[in-house]
Each structure stands twice: as C-alpha cells, then as structure tokens.
Symmetry: D4
Subunit: 211 residues, 8 copies
C-alpha cells in the first residue's frame, strides 16, 4: 500500500524544525510547555528512527530568541543545523533551501515556533514551489489560540496538510511489524502519549497477577 497525495511517504520526507528556541518558547500560550517540548522531541526521534533527514535552523540565537532547545540535537544527532541571521521566513534564506534541495525529497514535514510565522511562512513558500507540505501544529507554539486557528485555516487553504505529532508518527511508522517497532514504542511512552506507559504497567500487572 503506497501513500497517496494526502498522506506521508516517509521515503520522500524531510523534517524541518524551525526556531524552536528557548526564548521563543517562553512566549507560547496556545499549548503547555511540556507537551510542546515532548512533541518536538518526538519528531526529532521519529525522524532518526525512520531515517528521515532533519534540518534545523534558528533565528538570531545569541539574542532574546535564545538558543535552540538542546533536546533536539541530543535526540537526533544526525540533524543538520543551518544557522541564519536576518530572514524571518527560513525559506528566504538560501542555505536553508539548499539544505532541503540536497535531500532530493519533495515532502516537507514542518514545525516551527511561532506557528503563524516560523511554521507558516516556509510552508506557504514551499507550496508555491511545488512541495507537498505537512504542518505539524502541535509541535509548533504560538502567541494565542486565535492566532493558531487562523494559521490552520490559512495553510490548509493554501494546500498544506495540517497534522498532529502522534498522527505523523503513526503514519511514518506504518506498522508494528517492523524491526524498529520497539524504538517507536519507546518514543510513544516517553513523549507523545505518556499515559500509555501507565497503561502498560497496568497491563503487565494484570497479566502477572493472573499467572
């Protein structure tokens, strides 16, 4: 079963994590900090397991935007970092676009903080160049719920596919019948569905008590 125009083909995908910086994270008000960080780490880890090239960038990290949160490159040492000073839209920064082009892949999985800007603007630019774009809104933080609602409407209208982190992970993973299944499961329990860990403990205890 191959993926279709509305779905992700992991072998054609690149993950773009844009401006997930510790200063900008303080401004986020549409999600709680822990969930946002967990979702971003999930993406970084899932991309590594699924061999999806990952590119990060940060806007003026020496200033009040702050440095990239360290968990990203710790979770995915293979991720390529493209420094950037000046352009707000990462797609306006030629080295960033070249990093994307060098992967020869045409499906972009984009998350960025702030959602309306760091995620949305590169998404709109890339769509205009023919890329297939997925916007991972719950791994992107924003100033307000209203701004997020507007951004979902805007990028969807332009043809990007809005998606949440766990859906993306599941679509990339495709099946439990693969060698890396337990690696995905660990990410799931550690980051994207922590309550699943308690459910597994519960299940294990029930089985143990039955024996």
């Amino acid at each position: 079963m191959t993926s279709n125009k509305w779905m992700i083909d992991a072998d054609d995908a690149v993950l773009l994590l844009i401006d997930h910086q510790s200063g900008l994270f303080q401004l986020v008000r549409d999600m709680d900090f822990t969930t946002l960080r967990n979702n971003v780490v999930t993406l970084a880890k899932v991309a590594r397991i699924a061999k999806i090239p990952t590119i990060t960038t940060a806007s003026v990290p020496d200033g009040p935007n702050g440095p990239i949160i360290p968990e990203i490159h710790q979770s995915n040492p293979d991720a390529v970092h493209v420094p950037r000073n000046g352009p707000i839209n990462a797609w306006d920064h030629r080295p960033f676009v070249e990093a994307v082009e060098s992967t020869k892949r045409k499906t972009l999985l984009i998350a960025g903080t702030l959602t309306s800007i760091c995620m949305a603007l590169p998404a709109l630019s890339a769509l205009a160049e023919g890329y297939k774009v997925f916007c991972i809104v719950d791994a992107s933080g924003n100033l307000s719920q209203m701004a997020t609602d507007l951004t979902i409407a805007r990028v969807t209208q332009a043809g990007a596919m809005p998606i949440d982190t766990f859906a993306l992970m599941s679509e990339v993973m495709k099946t439990w019948d693969r060698p890396e299944a337990m690696d995905f499961a660990q990410v799931m329990v550690d980051h994207v569905v922590p309550a699943y860990g308690a459910l597994m403990d519960f299940h294990g205890a029930a089985q143990k008590s039955a024996k």
Copy 2:
C-alpha cells in the same frame, strides 16, 4: 428524494468501527467517556436497524490497547470483525479492505479511536481509491482537542465529510414514517440524546395531567 454527493445514501453505506478498544479509550481527552461510548453504541445499533453492513477491527487487542469494548458486538451481532496485528492504518490490512469490497458499497461511515490515526488514515486511503467517506468525529476519541481540530481540517481538505453521530442517525433514518421508527427513537433516548427521555416523560405527564 435521493441523496446527493454531499449526503449519505444508506443503501450504499458501510459502517467501519476501528480500534474502539478499552485501553485506547482511557487515553481519550477531547470527549467524555460516556458520550463517546454512547455514540459508538448508537452507530452500531443504527447500522443494524438500517441494515448497513458493519465491520470492526482492533489493533493488537491482547496488548495494552485492550479488547474492543463489548457493547459494540452486543449491540450489533451482525457486525463482522476483522482481526489485525501490525498495520496501524486499517486500510493497509488487506483482509479489512476485502471485507469492505465484499459489500459492493462505496460510501464509508468511519469512526475510530484515536481520531487522528484510526479514523483519519483509513479515510484518507479510501478517498484516494474513490470512496465517498464520512468521518464521524464524535464517535472517535482523541488525545487532545487540538489534535481533533487538526484532523477535521485535514480530512475535510481531502474531501471527506465530517459529521456527528446524531446527524448521521437522522440522515440514515430519513423519516419517522417507517416501520422501524420506534427502534430509532429508542436508540435516541438511550444513547445519543438522553435528555430527550426526560422531555418525553415531561410531555407524557403534561398530557396525563390534562386528561
């Protein structure tokens, strides 16, 4: 009056209830448990009354996802169950697709827990194969409201019709002037609009007191 491209033709419809499992139900946070279970049971019962073929599946029910909630097959003994281990997207599981194809019907009514994955992925796959797809979002549970909002935008963009349980029931039922009217009414009072029962008691009491 025949149905049109935006509406349900009950004679062409199949109901797909995907991964409504007791472990996954514990993870749901965009709806309350009772409403979700009631809506799922409503679908199972309505499908049986309206002779809409029903197919269920569950992902690894012996593990932490848990077994299908028993109310589904109790409410609709005619439902066909397709076991499944491995593929996350039920549409990637050939026996499941074959069960759908064997009905010769082309309108899919899909609910699944979790919404972003178990409902959305089969919907997107089936749309690409030309099916007419209705996504019953309030009979599907999800990790967060944000994930549900994203999923509604995603499946709608791809051409699926989002719908709620009571709308689906009403559209399938079409008229009170049919032999099974009281069967539908019973489902309505027991599950999808419980407050209607109190309204009927109220109405009956008013009429009784008037006589």
Copy 3:
C-alpha cells in the same frame, strides 16, 4: 453596488426557519437559550422589514419536540407555515420545497434547531439543486459545540456560506440611509446587540449633560 456570489442579495432571498420548537430548544447546549431565541426573533423581524419571504416548518409539534416558539410568527405575521410529519430533512417534504419554489427566489437563508440536522440537511439538499445557501449557525441550536464545529465544516465544504445573525442583518440592511433604518435599529437594540441600547443611553446622557 450589487451583491456577488459570496454575498446576500435580499431581493433574491427566502428565509427558512426550521424546527425552532420549544422541546428541541431544551436540548441545545452550544449556545445559551436567550441568545438563540433573540437571534431567531431577529431573523423573523428583519425578514419582515426587508420583505424577504419567510417559511417555517415544525416536525411533529404535538409530540415531545413541542410547538414552534410563538415569538416567530408573532414577530413576522407574514411568515408562511408548512406543517410536516415524518420527513426529518424538511427538503424531503414536497410541500415545503414547493413553498420555496413559489417565491421564485434562489438564495436561501437557513436556520434550524438542531443545527446538524434541521439546518444542515436542507442546506445540503438545496445546494445540490443549485440554490445559493447561507447557514445562520447562531440562530440554530445544537447538542454540543463539537457537533456545531463539524457542521460548519461540512456545510462550508459543500458550498454553503456560514454566517451569523448580525452579519446577515447588516448585509440585508445595507445602509442606514433608507426609510426602515429605525426599524432595523430597534431590532438591533432589542435582540441582537442588547448592549448597544446601554451605549445609546450613555451617548444620549453625555449629549444631554453637554447642553
């Protein structure tokens, strides 16, 4: 300035108020009762002022759905009532469609309680027959916010224009420079923006104190 395909031409419009019944009103949970009733009355009065033909219908008013709320026909004595027993979708009831057709108008302004059913199903049927349809969601009540969100997505996808009551009133009124301006203003103060009345009192007092 004439209206365009996305806007209302009052001279081509018919108002359809479907199943605004006192029993069904008790079930509404996505809006508060007073606002819903005020919005429905606003539509009835505005239609009368603007000479927009108005058609009402009710489903089994002798049963637990209850009678139409009396304020509608009190506010708009010109409204035509089409009784209906059986068909859930008012558009499946031939006399109702004939009442619409007899107006020779092709723009439908539809409100109905419950939103997902009484407003949405006739909207979808009429769209398929080539009507231009506006869905007045805040003059329609529903079982839940989630059901309303799904319905807005569904009818918009099919081509209906979602609208709120005050926007509709303003679009129909078009200008304060018309003989009925004060009639519209009265509706505004009495029903759709009650706080405007206090603002007018405030303004009057300020002017009086200045003199």
Copy 4:
C-alpha cells in the same frame, strides 16, 4: 417557619442597587450583558412585589460612568434614588446610609457594578456596623472572573452571605401559595429563567394536544 441567621427575612430586608450605570456596564467581563441586566431588573421587580424598600445610587452619572440603566426605576417606581458625587464606597456617603437607616431594617441585599468595589465595599462597611448582608454576585458585574472569585472569598470571609438572583427571589417569595405568585412567575419567565417560558409553552401544548 421563620428565617434564620443564614437566610433572608423579607420583612427585615432592604435592596441596595449601587452604580448600575450604562458606562460601567460596558466594562463588565465576568458575565454577559443580557444576563446581568435581566438579573438587576429581576431584583428591582421582586423588591417591589415583596414590598422590600429599594435604594439606588450612582457615582458621577454625568461623566463616563454613565447614567443608571433606566430599566431599574422603570421596573420599580418606588425605589429611592440617592445622588452621590465623590465617595467611591456608597457607605461613605452619609445620605445613603441615612436612607438605609430610615427603613429601620437590618438585612441588606446588595448588588453593585463593579462587584469588587461597588458591591463589596458597602457590604464590608455594613457588616462592621452589625448589618446582616447578602451579596448578589450575579446581579453585579466585574472586570474579570478572577476579580469576582477574589471578591466572593473576601466578602464571605467577612461574614456576608453570597447569593444568586434566582435563589434570592425564591427565598423572598417563599411559597407559590400567595396572592402575588403570578407576579413572581412573570418575573421568572421574563428575566431570570427565560427558558422556563419555553417549557411552559411546551407544557401547555402537551396538555392541549391531550384534550
């Protein structure tokens, strides 16, 4: 059955409506405008029916606070108005306190906009002078929900009894077996529980259809 120290004795009560002015009403964000106005009118009408002396005051009505909303004195022509310029706490204004004292009553029913100030400060002052005080919080508007939560805690701690408008009306009315029962009922349907009117229509229709 006489009332006790925690309850209202209507024969010992005075209603104080403080600073319900059209400018201040624009600032209210913890309640919607219509509900607030309806609750204030309810109090005015109920006091008149129950012969509870009513005193109003307004702070600088010629300025941006605006005039008292006219519905109050229209609803209760017997209400006494005490003009006031300067003192923020109405209890700091001697003529206001004298108006209270002249009633010889010791139970104060206080509502005021803004809640934290116009309702709370006179309540605290009166408590210190030995009055029994009821604070009608949902007939008082405030800048924020947080400010209201703080005020409820503050006045309760000081010994005032927090109460809502419908509870107050019911406690004052005491029984349906009194001559003014229908007057109270009219207030209830018109202002404090508008949905009850639809329920009465529903009930009447059910009885009529039964005959």
Copy 5:
C-alpha cells in the same frame, strides 16, 4: 474507626432528594444531563444498599416543573415520597420535616435541583435546627456555574459540608470487605464512574491473555 464531625456516619444518615423533576432538569447548565442523572441514581441506589432512609419531594409536578424523574423510585423502591404544593423551601413544608424527624436521624445528605434553591434552602434551615448537613452538589443541577460557585460558598459558610457523589458513596461504603461490596461496585460501573467498566474489561482481558 468511627466517623467524626466532618464525616458521614451512615447509620445516622437520611438521604433527601428534592425536586429532581424532568422539567427543572431541562434548565440545568452547570453540569451535563447524563452525569447529573447518573449521580442522582447513584445516590438512590447507594442509599438502598446501605439502608439509609430516603425521602423525595417534588414541587407542583403537574405543572411545568414536571414529574420526578422515574429512575429515582425505580432505583430505590423503599424511598418515601412527600408531595408538596406551595412552599419553595421543602423545609417549610411540615410533612417533609416530619418525615425526616420520624427517622430519628440527624445527618442529612441533601441533593436538589436547582442547587441554589432546592438543595441550599433546606440545608440552611436544617443547619439552624442543629442537623449535620452534607450538600451533594454534583447530584444537584443549577442555572449557571456562577450560581453554583456562590451556593458552595454560602452553604459551606453556614456549616454544611459540600461533597460529590462518588466521595459520598465511598464514605458510606467504607470498605470492600463487606457483603454488599459487589452491589456498590455495580453502581460505580453503571453510574458514577462508567470508565471504570472499560478498565475492568481491560484488566480481565489482560489476565485472560496471560493465561
């Protein structure tokens, strides 16, 4: 371990279910209908299992308040009904107080719809006569969340103990090591914590799969 002044002694308790009528239930906006009904039924069943005398009353059930919801007496055939016309505060109705007094018990467990009136007023009256009073707020419905917040503050200030239905059930049950344990468990699964049923299914399936 005996209960103390802040806790319930089941052998000294009487359950009072006041005005849980199908018309009044339509007005409730601080809780959803299903949860309220389930909580009321829980109380009725728990009282029967624990041999706590239960007294019901209804205000003018032939009018728009509607009849008592039938589930109460169906769930607890031993409950005594005291009819009442006129007095709003049930404690102002002598036969009701006599029914309480005849039990010789001094701890009252009170739920009523509407919370601010039907639950609160009898609670305040009984406190003044020296009863120990528990107010079961989530088995009482009210017009608004604000009215409920005010009522919790009021009755607590007067000395009543606010409590939720599941806490009350647990306090009355005291231990799983008693003959009626499974009867309590059934109430828990059927009414007060429906999700617990899915957890039990999950647990059973895990144990079965382990064997």
Copy 6:
C-alpha cells in the same frame, strides 16, 4: 525571494482599518480590549514603517458607534481618512473604493470592528473584484467567538487569507537585516508581544551579570 499568491507583497499592499470606533469597541467579546487595541496600533505603525498606504473610515462617528480610537491616526499620521455615513459595507461607499484604487495596489490588508461585518463585507466585495485579500482577524473585534469562527470559515471559503497581526508584521518586515529593523522591534515590544520586552530585559541582565 518574491512573495507568492498565498503571501503578502508589501509593495502591492494597502491597509484598510474600518470602523475601529470607541463605541463599537465596547461591544467586543471575542478578544480582550487591550490586545485588540494593541493589534490595531501595531498595524498602523507597521504600515507607516513599511510605507504601506493606510485608509481608515468610520460609520456615523457622531452617534453611538463613537469616534475612531485616536491611537490610530496618532500612530500613523499618513493614514487617509474617508468619512462615511450610511453604507454599512465600506466597499459600498464609492469614495472609499476610490481611495483604494488611487493607490494602484491590489493586495488588501483588512481589519474592522465588528469582524463579521466591517471586516468581512468589504473583504467579500473586494474579492469579487479581483483583489487579493488578507483578513486580520485578531485586529478586528466581534460580538462572540461563534461569530468569529463563522466569519473565518466564510471569508476563507471565498478566497481571502486569514492572518494574525504578528504574522502580518513579520511577513511585511521580511528580514532583520534592514534599516528599519529597530522600528519594527519597538512595535513588537510595545504592542504585539509585550512579554518579549521582559525577555529582552532578562537577556540584557544575564549578559551584564556575565561581564
């Protein structure tokens, strides 16, 4: 990098600020007053910095709608004001359209209070005449969240691009590597992201303490 059909080209843009009047502002309930005013001022200042022509209009400013909030023209003395009496939709007022046409620009950035009317109607009219339209929803205030949700769906469906104020500012600014960068930064700190100012203080203090 040039902008595309989904994005803003600042050199082709005109800013339209419609009916941001002090009376209408009192009616807004989907946003808080301070945020709305800050967003409007942000637009006025950003347009001036980026040399985007700005046109304001007001509907009957001598009446209860009140005058334009003075901050707009204080922040952007170059803005052109077009007085208007009568037409509700500013696009129905010929001098307003002529002011737009005289700029020779075809990209409209529209904000208006109330959103459903003052922002939406001109947007829909201009779209029909071939303009590219951006609707700045969080610089427009509305009567309710539901009305705003409906309006976002409506204008998006018609082809307008919904956007938030900070996204618009960022898209117009494009890069920090421009002479006016500090002017934009000042707007950001003063109005659209006030918390960023505290972050800058924090950053400066950290750097100072390190030296």
Copy 7:
C-alpha cells in the same frame, strides 16, 4: 468613616512587591502577561500617590529568575529595595522584615510572583505575627489556575484578605473629591481599566457633537 478590620486603612498600609522578576514572569500561566504587568505598575503608582511606603525584593536576580521588571521602580522612585539571596520566603530574610517594621505600619498589601510562594508565604508569616494582611492575587502570577485557587483558599483560611488590584486602588483612593483624583484616574485609564479610556473618548465625542 474609618476603615474596619476587613478593610484597608491607607495610613496604616505598606505595599510589598515581592519577586516580580522578568524570568519568573515567563512562567506565569494563570493570567496574561500584559494584565499582570499593568496591575503591578498600578500598585506601584497608587502607592506613591497615596503615600503608602513600598518595599520590593528579588530572589537571586542575577540568575534565571531575572531582574525586577524595571517598570516598578520607574513608576515609584520612592520604593525601597531590599536585596535577598537564599531565603525563599521573604519574611525569613531579616532585613526585609526590618524594612517593614521601620514603617511602624501594621497593614500589609502583598503581591508576589509566584503567587503560591512569593505572595503566600510572607502573608502567612506576617499573619502569625499579628499583621493585617491583604493578598493582591491579580498582581501576582502563578504556574496554574489550580495553584491559584488553592492559594486563595489557603491564605483566606489563615485570615488574609484576598483582593484584586482595582478594588485595592478604589479602597485606597476612597473619594473622587481629593486633590490627587486625576492622578488616580490616569492610572486607571493607563493600566487597570484600559477600556475606560475608550469610554472617556466616547463620552467626550458625544458631548462635543452635542454642542
């Protein structure tokens, strides 16, 4: 009229602003940043106008807590700053207590970020030493709404008076008939009730148009 035990006597009051630091402000999630900052600045300015001694302190300002927000001392140059390293509860820091004692005043007006700690702990310590304490909760920021609810309950139980910023300002100001009235008004419009400014513009325009 003198103040009583539940109210503020400005001549006996000291304002304590504890740990309003730019790092800690980033953690606040029970209020929005702008409102919190405005409320703190209101307190600083009001204290100065009313000649209430003001004491600030900060915990480890060179570290991640950050420096005190500069607006405080800018708004109130008379405020005394007591540096502090180590003790979390400012009351455990002897120089801070001595600063309070040196004022000879016994009424403390306390705000602190975070509420549960920086405001609550000194409040509880001071109460035990016989001070009269007011806790200004909406000029204190906290990690969550739940933490704030718990803190209000805790400090109230211990005898502190919870209060909001505007109530405090009004209580301190007492009357508009004093020389500093316009200074207070300016604070009100600039910080604590910004919408009041628009109302004043509105009022002025109405008066102007009347002349």
Copy 8:
C-alpha cells in the same frame, strides 16, 4: 524563623502518598496525566531530600485499580509501603495509622488519587485526631473539576490547609543557602516547573554570548 500554625515545619512532617495507582490514574479528568505524575514524583523526591518520612499505600493493586506507579518508589527508595485491602479510607486501616504514629510526627502532607476520597477522607480523619494536615491537591487526581472544587471547600472548612506541589516544595526547602539546593533545583527543572529548564538554558546562552 520557625514555621507557624498555618505553615509546614519539615521536621515535623510525614508525606502520605495514597492510591497513586496506574488504573485509577486513567480516570483522572481534573488535571493532565503528565502534570499529575510529575507532581507526585516531585513530592517523593523532595521528601527524600528533606528527610521527610514517606508512607505509601494502595487499594487492591491486583485488581482494576492497578499497581502503584513505579516512579514513586524509584524516586524515593526510603518510602515505606503499607499494603491494604478493603478499607477505602486509608486511615481506617490500622497498620497505616501505626506507620504514621511510629514517625512521632504530627504534620501530615497528604496526596491521593482520587482526590475526593483517597486524599480527603484520611485528611478528615487525621484532623479529628489533632493532626495538622496539608492537602496537596495538584498531586491528587479526580473525576471532575467540580468534585475537586467541592473537596477543596470541604477539607478547608474542616481545617486542612490546601496547597500546591511547588508551594510545598518551596516551603520545605526554605532557602537556597543549604547543601541540598542543587538537588531541589534538579527536581524543579525535571518535574514541577519544566519551563524553568529552558529559562536556564536561555540564561546560560546569554551569559556565554556576552563573554
């Protein structure tokens, strides 16, 4: 500075963690799972650092309540576990009370899932025996927000002190000037205020860039 009757003296305190079991955790709806687990782990770690004896218990862990979440004893290997079958209120289980008594301490810090039962009932029992009790509500999960609100009111009324996890940690820690300061800081960053970690990264980066 010693602690007073409203505050915690760490040397007199015992931590009681009651029924934090993986099955019961699935039922929690007043907090999110991650925050609840983090708060519970915080308590376990803080108690160990501060040498506060810790006692855990679980109700029927082999059944659907599930086992204690393993993080508790992993975080605090010194904690004593008291098994329990039968009594719902842990204080009704003699070995549990004996474990408390053996510590010779009289200040109880209690958290339990579900809040209304597992936290509240032992708190009420212990208060009656003269213990000083702190109820850590945000380290206790409950079925609904309403149930939590009622429980806060109930235990506060009985004399328990409601508190949140971070306040408790700060009160126990008292000062940064102690040998274990960095151990407390680690708990703070890892569990109770995760955003503080990003703030520290930010601060460090600012200092590094300054050098």
